[in-house]
Symmetry: C4
């Protein structure tokens, strides 16, 4: 992919502003997320193996360790299934809508990603780089969770204190993790 493959679209209407190709087929899903979560500046969708396996199993990923807590402040949620009517209708818009619906009581800033049931992961971030980093972290977390559950299927999530300590030492005003 080179710059000439990039397409600039209007964030509200989705109309192409610059570029010679069509935008992503999932453009309307991305727009739904940008509109519902105004603090984000990048959205990434992959079919990475382990995260997709959780989406196909219809399961969210519980925080089983501190790697998870370093990036996601709680369960990485899985959406409900779309209804046949939603699927036959404005499918890509509805896919964004079930993600947004799943975040009714969740904070998209501290849980920067979700699994679409039967499909795969979407992640987001402050900018495109952050969204890509979260996609990579999600896949690694999903891999570790799969291995953990193969060793001990009933592994409980880590406690709230450990979850908070790891998330908050990397994120937010009192973070102290890292070398700079």
């Amino acid at each position: 992919m080179t710059v000439s493959h990039m397409v600039v679209v209007d964030l509200e209407s989705g109309e192409v502003v610059e570029g010679r190709l069509a935008p992503s087929s999932n453009l309307l899903t991305h727009l739904a997320l940008y509109q519902a979560f105004p603090q984000i500046g990048g959205v990434v969708h992959t079919h990475s193996r382990f995260a997709t396996a959780f989406a196909q199993a219809g399961r969210g990923i519980l925080p089983l360790g501190t790697t998870h807590a370093d990036y996601f402040y709680g369960e990485i949620p899985c959406t409900r299934e779309l209804t046949p009517a939603e699927i036959s209708g404005a499918y890509e818009i509805e896919m964004g809508a079930v993600i947004v619906e799943r975040f009714t009581d969740l904070d998209p800033k501290s849980i920067p990603g979700a699994l679409v049931h039967g499909h795969g992961p979407f992640t987001w971030g402050r900018d495109a780089t952050g969204a890509v980093q979260n996609a990579a972290a999600l896949e690694e977390i999903a891999c570790m969770a799969t291995l953990t559950l193969s060793l001990a299927p009933d592994t409980p999530p880590i406690g709230d204190a450990l979850l908070a300590r790891h998330y908050l030492r990397k994120h937010g005003p009192r973070s102290y993790y890292g070398q700079t």
Copy 2:
């Protein structure tokens, strides 16, 4: 492999038309598929790990997610076992025949691949490139299915509406997926 390793054969008789080496030992299986499925222009056979595991387990791969639906419009079927008589007889021809038999009520255009019981996957396509892409997609789908079943052994296939939406947005006259 270089061009000098390629062998051109007659599509009906299997006789070598050009090239200095012998054709693939599985030539007659390939010819059986070309003859039964006249719309295809390429056949690929691999022993890729995850697809072969399903073949060894004697299990077809149900559509557990949209990655599957993007390439295969339904279960990727597994053939029956060959009989001892078929194995001792014209083995490579019979291997093609059980694939063709398995497609009696299936459309090889929308399900461009099968698993030979106890052996491994064959895929096909409009041309050689398409057949290779389907072989790679099949392996990725088989990997995701293996992971999904390790998380949730009873995962049901996705619904018909989602299967159709994904397959048909990429294939056929009303497809709209992609950037060109």
Copy 3:
């Protein structure tokens, strides 16, 4: 990472002696290990996939084969969970303390690593190179143990004679393994 990213700290106080960046956020865990295990000259912490899965499952790794015995003279232990008070307090120091506590009746020289419950592996060695080698060996051992347990969940550890033979032919005064 280049030399300019390296930071020299005082081994007792942890204060920066040389270098322009902050030391690792887990500095105090490392210092706790250096102080408790005076014979070691290097500590490594990773979130490698398979070792972390055992840590998340809260399970030590039993010696299931000679690969394990070549590097670790017995179970690779998993610590207890930290208490909420330890986590909210001097977390990084307490993480070192639970490792040291776990080694009350173990020899850190012949078992050069541990899993921190819900977190991941720490390994150590005579020097930095040895600690890195032990981290790599631990991950390979954890991978093999995961695969073994998927084939046979009740695999017992190897016997004491085999454990001793392999460990002692590579380590200690009567070692004879290797080409030099």
Copy 4:
């Protein structure tokens, strides 16, 4: 590894004939195999992940598909455990002896490899290249068997007719597999 790391030893006595380093610590195991199986010209020992997992589980690898049958004409056997006396005694010689013992009723030419219980795989071949190829094939076969058993734990071995057809079309006087 370069040529200067290679060591030439006498095939009967094991004494170094040429080279400046010590021979492999497992030299005496290799010699036991060369002496018992006079038709072989190369022995390879690895700790490859999947084959080692079967050895650690104490399980032979049944022929679950044609990939197996292309290289091994039957189960890849696992030895019994060595006794404490064998382990404390001439360990490396005894390791060769249990492999040879396991082949009392097996043909090392058509089954060119074995798993040492709790340790890992040894393979052999007409020459060093053949032994390496068999080591690589064994690892791939072990991987596929692991995946197959995770999908269907009770998968039976393929039938005798399929096993024979695949082995004999690649090996022996009536082989016809391959392009030359």
